[in-house]
């Protein structure tokens, strides 16, 4: 492996490295508890005990009963399970579904698939800062609304939705409420038992746990259909051999988060301020998303008339995300930023800095220097729009 040494990684919203304590726990489980928890022998029972510990750790972070947690392969699967598994199950209640334009693809594409199957989806628009006004949500409710899915923290902008208020409205109207919490779990404090949320998706690799494992919280009494079939694991809601080391890693990441969330938030807030102070004098700089009250680990900025792919290359060895099409398999610039009212041009020049636990003030200094220089360089390189 080479080349990773001199990178400056500011893409923690894409994925995080393993926390050392998580890595150690996983190695221990791989060495000593690698058995199949479904096996009825001493080895299987050792692994079962490991799963119990992990469920307890995650349950404690979220303040839920461990029995409400379903292990999945990540947030994408949790989102699919939650939305597909509810919509079909509740078809008799109505065919109207509510979500936002700025959801992650793991939610958007599931609702698109449901539209093709005859469901009626309302795609709510956010304000220019990414935030969804509760009146707009309430106004979209119909007699036949059966399910709403609104994300907790937006992965591109850091905008935080008021899931307590939205959930309360859902409860009043008998609407099942799913929250994609991939960017919030382990990163912000919240208490699921005291939130009016029926289903909550999360994934370990966004908070220093392993990739390939996540969980869906299913509030007691919430009916759900499985997405996959086979074997009796996890109350028939999610079959397959439990990946005991991954689940142990998710549990450990939750335990680490439980004691470090407040410190993390303070750290990220300071770093974000430093970053913003360092670049805010660039002419034409725009913040994509909330200026102040978003998740502090994300700062998404754009400048007019810069080509995104070239900016990304000019920023190397900085690892950041862009709203430009080259970022993804799709060919359009970020639909999330477009929904905030940004032009294609603006969206494709956007850079998302996402900061993390290991980020230092020095990293931010370097990022500021590279960003300022990169923008200047490309501006100098560009001809006037009309020669």
């Amino acid at each position: 492996m080479s080349g990773a040494g001199n990178l400056i990684y500011l893409d923690f919203a894409a994925t995080t490295p393993l926390d050392p304590q998580v890595a150690e726990r996983m190695r221990d489980v791989q060495a000593n508890a690698w058995f199949n928890p479904s096996s009825n022998h001493p080895g299987g029972r050792i692994s079962t005990a490991v799963i119990k510990v992990a469920a307890g750790q995650l349950a404690s972070l979220l303040n839920v009963n461990p029995a409400t947690l379903i292990w999945t392969s990540g947030a994408t699967e949790a989102d699919n399970l939650a939305i597909m598994g509810t919509a079909k199950q509740r078809e008799h209640r109505g065919k109207h579904l509510l979500t936002m334009r700025t959801e992650h693809k793991a939610v958007v594409d599931v609702f698109r698939a449901l539209e093709r199957r005859g469901f009626d989806v309302t795609w709510l628009e956010p304000e220019a800062d990414g935030h969804l006004p509760i009146e707009r949500f309430r106004a979209a409710l119909r007699e036949d609304t059966q399910l709403a899915s609104i994300m907790h923290v937006n992965n591109e902008t850091g905008a935080i939705q008021d899931i307590a208020a939205i959930g309360a409205v859902c409860k009043q109207h008998g609407v099942v409420f799913h929250v994609d919490g991939a960017q919030a779990a382990g990163k912000m404090p919240f208490d699921l038992t005291n939130l009016p949320v029926d289903l909550y998706s999360l994934t370990a690799h966004k908070f220093y746990g392993p990739k390939g494992v996540g969980a869906l919280y299913v509030a007691e009494g919430t009916p759900l259909d499985p997405l996959m079939f086979g074997g009796g694991q996890q109350r028939r809601l999610r079959p397959g051999t439990l990946a005991v080391d991954l689940i142990a890693g998710l549990g450990e990441a939750a335990a680490v988060a439980a004691v470090s969330i407040e410190r993390d938030l303070a750290h990220l807030t300071a770093l974000r301020e430093q970053l913003l102070a360092g670049i805010q004098n660039i002419e034409g700089l725009q913040i994509n998303g909330p200026e102040q009250d978003g998740y502090p680990g994300i700062l998404n900025v754009g400048v007019n008339d810069i080509e995104g792919e070239s900016l990304l290359l000019a920023l190397e060895p900085l690892c950041v995300a862009t709203g430009s099409a080259c970022n993804s398999q799709s060919q359009e610039p970020s639909y999330v930023l477009r929904a905030l009212g940004r032009s294609d041009q603006q969206a494709q020049s956007a850079i998302r800095f996402s900061l993390g636990r290991p980020t230092t003030r020095k990293d931010i200094e370097t990022a500021i220097k590279l960003y300022c220089r990169g923008v200047e360089k490309l501006r100098n390189l560009a001809p006037e729009a009309v020669a």
């Binding site: 080509e307 070239s310 290359l313 100098n380 390189l381 560009a382 001809p383 020669a387």
Partner: protein, 126 residues
């Protein structure tokens, strides 16, 4: 999935775009298409391109291709501009096929520059 999309030649040209800028008082060609903007400017003496400069709004491959073009043709006779070949540049810079259209914008700009130079040469031969 993305492979490393930039070969060393692209990185060199993008990192050191020595021909970026404007040839003062030179002949100019400009093209805008495919979301890219390319501006070439040249000074010519005795049918030799003595100075070749560019400005580009575009992706790294287009920037690198334009710098490569300038490196190759500065100092050479105007007539040799005909030898400019997009195929060769696409290959040298390992330009992904889906960007072919963008490189053709460069081709159009070069053709337009050649025409502009020839116009000028005809109007006031040296």
């Amino acid at each position: 999935m993305n492979n490393n999309p930039y070969n060393p030649a692209v990185r060199d040209c993008f990192g050191s775009p020595d021909h970026a800028g404007t040839a003062a008082g030179g002949i100019v060609a400009f093209f805008e298409d495919q979301g890219m903007r390319i501006r070439l400017s040249a000074n010519v003496r005795n049918s030799i391109i003595t100075e070749l400069r560019f400005l580009v709004w575009g992706c790294p491959h287009v920037i690198a291709a334009t710098e490569t073009f300038c490196r190759q043709f500065e100092g050479r006779p105007v007539a040799e501009l005909e030898l400019f070949e997009t195929d060769q540049i696409m290959q040298d810079l390992a330009v992904p096929v889906e960007k072919t259209g963008r490189i053709l914008v460069l081709e159009d700009t070069v053709r337009s520059l050649r025409a502009a130079i020839q116009d000028r040469l005809l109007s006031k031969p040296d």
